[in-house]
Symmetry: C2
Subunit: 515 residues, 2 copies
C-alpha cells in the first residue's frame, strides 16, 4: 500500500505548484483569473464538499459540462477526494447518457444548467444528487454554493498510485461506449511525458479549447498545469474569437484539429490579428495535407507536431515531430514518446519488421487499468502483454511509424485489402470535395464494395461520375469506389470523428444483396 | 500487481530509447562509443547472464566500481533482471564493506580488479561469487566473459512499480551506514522530474564524472539517458583532463562540486581550451561563494543551478534556479521540484511559516521504500506523513528555501544555538583558509564549545589567534570558536563531504573535561 509520503496522485499536482508559485495565474476564463494558490484552494473546497456530503472511495461523479474554470476545479477536486471522475460528452444522446450513468452507478451528476435542464427528471430515476455547474436550475444545488463554507485545506485521503481516477467512455465510433479506467499514476506520468516531448516551458501560455471531457484536451491541460504554465479556457471553436484570444493572451502553445488551423489560415480577417506569440501548435485526430501544413508553418511561424494516443493509453503515446513535418507526408505518427514502447504486431503476437503492416501496440505506465466491468475486453486489449490499439500501421525505413487505418476500417474487397484512409485521401484532394469517407458495404460479388460518402463544397455541381473518374486517375482499380453517395453532411461525434458505423448501418442494403 | 503492459521499471528506459533512436550514441568512454541499441543489448546480455546464473528476485548484487561504460551496463542489467543493485563506495574501509555485504547478504560481488584484488579472500568468506569488471583476477570470471553467448533479447521478468531496485548506503557522516531501499518508480519519476527541471534536451552532451555509486551522479546519468542525450563517462576529477573532455566532446550539461568549478575557473591553462559548449552547470553538496559564482557565470557563459536531494528521496528534490543565482546569496536551496512537496516542520509535526527555522521535510513519489531491515528508523523518517531530511532550514520572504544546517550539526553552546555552517562561512572568507569546518566539542562550561578545524593555503603563516580575531570581527561573541585547530587536511568521504563525526571522536577530549 502506498503511503501519503510517496504516493502518485493527480491532486498532488496543483498543491505542489501552489507552493512553488502561489501568485502565478493558472487559469484564465473570460474576465476571471485564478492563481495556482486559488485553484488549489478551490479544488480543496470542492473535495471537502464531496467528502462532507458523504461520498466515499469508489464513488463515481458524472459530469456533463463544457469547458470552464469550474470544470478544472471539478476534476481536481474529485481527484483530491479520491473519488472517480466520469466525464461525459454533452453531445451524446440521452440514452447513451443513461447507459453510462447506470453502468457506473453514478452517485452525483454535475452539469452545466443549459445542458442538463431537460433531462433532470430522467436522471433522477437513477441518481438523486444533481449539482448545477454553470447557471442554476430551480431548487437544484449549485457548484458555487457547494463551495461555500468549505475549508480551503486539502483533505488527507488515502489514495494509491493505481487507484482509478477517472472513467472516460470511448467516443462510440462503434456500438456501445466502453468505460476506460485510468489510474492516478497513468495521468501523472503521461503529463510528465508530454511536458518533455512538447518541451513545455513554465512561462507558456496555453489554450484549453478542445473539450475537457476528452482525453486529448484533458491530458494537454493537466500537462500545462503540471508544468506551471497559464491555461486560457474557452469553450468551442470560432475562428475569429480564437484569433482574438491568441492575440489578447499571447498564446504560445495550443492544441486543435487540422480543420481548425486551416480555418484560421484562410480566414479573411487573419491579418487583423497578431498571432506571432504562437510557438508550438499540436494537432491530432487526423493528418494535415501538405499544402495546408507548409502554409501553416510558414504563416504562423510556429512549430507543428502531431500527437497521437487514445483514452485506453493516456495520451500522448507518439509524436510526429516538428523537424519531421516537412520531410515526409502521409499518415505519419512518428516515434514513440519516451514513456512508451511501440511495436507492430501480427494476430499471433509476433513483432513485425520495418515495412510490414500490423496492429500498433504499446506498453507504458499510461496504459489503462482496464475496461470497466469488462474483463473479457480488457484481456483482449492486452493480449501477448501489449496494449492493442485497434490501429494498423507500419514502420518506414527511417523508423517513423505510418498509420494505415483502423483495423476494422480496412475494406476487404474481391480478395484485396483497401485502406479506407487511402481512398479518403484521394477524395479529399478533389477540388469540389469538402469532406469524405470510404467504407466497405456488403456486396454480392465483391464481398465488400468500396463506397464513398462525400460532402461537396457550397455551389459545386460535381457528380458521382466526376468523382469516380477522378479516383480512377489516382487509385488502383480495386481501390476505386464502386459507388459515391453525395450527402449534405456526414455523421460526426462531438469531437469531430466521422461515425462510419452510422453510415454502415444506414446503407447496409445499398447494393441490394439479392440472396 | 502490475502487468508488464503498464509497469514502471528502470530497465524500460533504455529499451524505449533504443527503439526511438537506435544508432544514436548513448555513452562515450575513452575511445569507446556505445549506441542506444548497443547499450540496451549489452544490458540485456548482462541481465540474461544474471538470470541464467540462477540469481532470482530479491537477490542483491554488490558493486565496487569506479565510473565506466561497464558500470552503466551493470546497473541497467541488474534492473532488467529484477534484481537489487547495491553500489558501494570503493573508498570505504574493508570493515564497512563487509558490514554492507553481510547486511544485504550479497549473492554476487562485482568490482574493478584493482579495487577488490586485496580483499577477495575476505569477501569470499561471505560471498563466493565474484566477477571482475575492469581488469582480471587470476581465475575469477570477468564481466566481459560473462556477456559472451548471452542473448541480446531482453528477458521478460515480473517487476512491480514499487519493487526495490537498489539499496544505496548513506555515506556515513555518522555511525554505521544505513541501507536506503529505492524503488523502480522512485528512480523513474525522479529522472522525469530532473529532465523537466533542468530543461534537459535530447541533443545534450552530458558528463558522468562524479561517482555513479552515489545518488547524485546516478540520477543525473539516468536522466540524461532517459532524455536520449549522450553521456561522456570519465572517472575522477583532474581539471585539465576535464577541460579537454569538455572541448573534445562539446559538453553542454554537467554536474560537479563547487570546488571543481573553482578549480577550472582559476586554472592557468583554461584559456587553452574551448569551453563555450557549456550551457548548464549543476552543482551540489555545498553553496558557491558569491565571487566564484559571479565569475563562473561570467566566464563560462553558462547557467548555474544548485540541485539538492538525498539518497532517501531520490534527487533532485529542490533547485536553486539559474535566474535566482545572482539575486540572493547564502545557503539557498531555492524551490521544490515539480514532483515534490517541501515544508518546514517543528518537532511536533506542525508546518511552520516563512522565516521560522525547522526541519526540511518532503513528500513525493521519489521517497524511499524505507531503510533496509530497520523499521524503526523508517518510521522515524516519515513521522507525521512527511519524509524527514535531518536538515534545518526556513523559507525567506520570497518563498525561497534557505538551508541552516544539518540538524545534528547545530552546536548548543552556553544556552545558544550556533549553526556550524555560519561559522564555516566566515572561516572560508579568510584569505589564508583553504577549507574549514566547525563542530561542537564537549566543554565543562559551555556544554559544547564551538571549535574550528582549518586547512591553510600553501605557504600561509596564519595562527590560531589570527583566525579567532578575524572571527570576532564577523561573528557574534557566542559564535566565535573557542579554539582553532590547524590541520594538514580534513577527513573527507569519497564524495567530498567532511566527516565531522571523525573529528568529534578524535577531539572529544580537546577541552579535557576534568570531572
Amino acid at each position: 500500500m502506498q503511503s501519503i509520503v510517496n504516493r502518485v496522485a493527480i491532486g498532488d499536482i496543483l498543491r505542489r505548484n501552489a507552493a512553488r508559485f502561489p501568485d502565478k495565474v493558472a487559469i484564465i476564463d473570460g474576465g476571471k483569473r485564478i492563481t495556482y494558490r486559488e485553484l488549489d484552494q478551490l479544488s480543496n473546497q470542492f473535495a471537502n464538499y464531496l467528502l462532507s456530503s458523504g461520498y466515499t472511495k469508489g464513488d463515481t461523479i458524472l459530469t456533463i459540462c463544457m469547458n470552464s474554470w469550474e470544470y478544472v476545479v471539478i476534476y481536481n477536486g474529485i481527484a483530491k477526494a479520491g473519488l472517480i471522475w466520469v466525464p461525459i460528452n454533452p453531445g451524446i444522446s440521452i440514452n447513451e447518457k443513461l447507459y453510462i450513468l447506470d453502468q457506473v452507478e453514478a452517485k452525483l451528476i454535475m452539469g452545466d444548467a443549459p445542458l442538463i435542464q431537460n433531462d433532470i427528471e430522467t436522471f433522477k430515476k437513477s441518481c438523486q444528487n444533481i449539482l448545477a455547474v454553470r447557471g442554476s436550475l430551480g431548487d437544484t444545488n449549485t457548484f458555487l454554493l457547494a463551495l461555500e463554507d468549505q475549508s480551503e485545506v486539502e483533505p488527507e485521503v488515502e489514495i494509491e498510485d493505481r487507484d482509478v481516477a477517472q472513467i472516460m467512455f470511448t467516443s462510440g465510433t462503434t456500438g456501445n461506449p466502453k468505460g476506460v479506467m485510468t489510474s492516478h499514476l497513468a495521468v501523472y506520468i503521461a503529463s510528465l511525458g508530454n511536458i518533455i516531448e512538447s518541451n513545455f516551458q513554465e512561462d507558456e501560455k496555453t489554450l484549453t479549447m478542445m473539450p475537457l471531457f476528452h482525453c486529448a484536451q484533458h491530458t494537454f491541460t493537466v500537462s500545462a498545469l503540471h508544468r506551471g504554465a497559464t491555461s486560457v479556457v474557452i469553450s468551442g471553436f470560432e475562428p475569429e474569437a480564437l484569433m482574438k484570444t491568441i492575440e489578447d493572451h499571447q498564446i504560445t502553445n495550443m492544441f486543435a484539429l487540422p480543420i481548425m488551423y486551416k480555418a484560421l489560415l484562410y480566414h479573411p480577417n487573419r491579418p487583423k490579428y497578431d498571432l506571432s506569440s504562437l510557438r508550438r501548435c499540436t494537432y491530432a485526430m487526423a493528418p494535415m495535407d501538405r499544402q495546408t501544413l507548409e502554409k501553416c508553418i510558414h504563416e504562423f511561424k510556429a512549430e507543428f507536431a502531431l500527437g497521437t494516443g487514445q483514452t485506453e493509453i493516456y495520451p500522448a503515446t507518439m509524436t510526429f515531430r516538428p523537424e519531421e513535418q516537412l520531410r515526409r507526408f502521409g499518415s505519419y505518427w512518428g516515434t514513440s514518446n519516451l514513456i512508451n514502447d511501440t511495436a507492430i504486431m501480427d494476430d499471433d503476437g509476433n513483432i513485425l519488421e520495418k515495412g510490414q503492416v500490423g496492429e500498433i501496440v504499446h506498453r507504458g505506465p499510461n496504459v489503462m487499468n482496464g475496461y470497466f466491468r469488462n474483463e473479457e475486453e480488457t484481456a483482449k486489449s492486452r493480449a501477448f502483454g501489449w496494449h492493442h490499439t485497434g490501429d494498423l500501421g507500419y514502420w518506414d525505413e527511417d523508423g517513423q511509424l505510418v498509420f494505415v487505418d483502423r483495423k476494422k476500417d480496412i475494406i476487404k474487397t474481391g480478395g484485396e485489402n483497401v485502406a479506407s484512409i487511402k481512398v479518403e485521401g484521394v477524395l479529399l484532394t478533389h477540388k469540389d470535395v469538402a469532406n469524405a469517407v470510404a467504407v466497405g458495404l456488403p456486396h454480392e460479388r465483391w464481398s465488400e464494395a468500396v463506397t464513398a460518402f462525400v460532402v461537396l463544397n457550397p455551389g459545386s455541381q460535381a457528380t458521382e461520375e466526376d468523382i469516380i473518374n477522378y479516383c480512377k486517375e489516382h487509385l488502383g482499380g480495386f481501390q476505386v469506389p464502386k459507388s459515391v453517395v453525395i450527402l449534405e453532411q456526414l455523421p460526426l461525434t462531438a469531437t469531430g470523428k466521422i461515425q462510419k458505423h452510422v453510415l454502415r448501418r444506414q446503407y447496409t442494403n445499398h447494393y441490394q444483396i439479392t440472396n
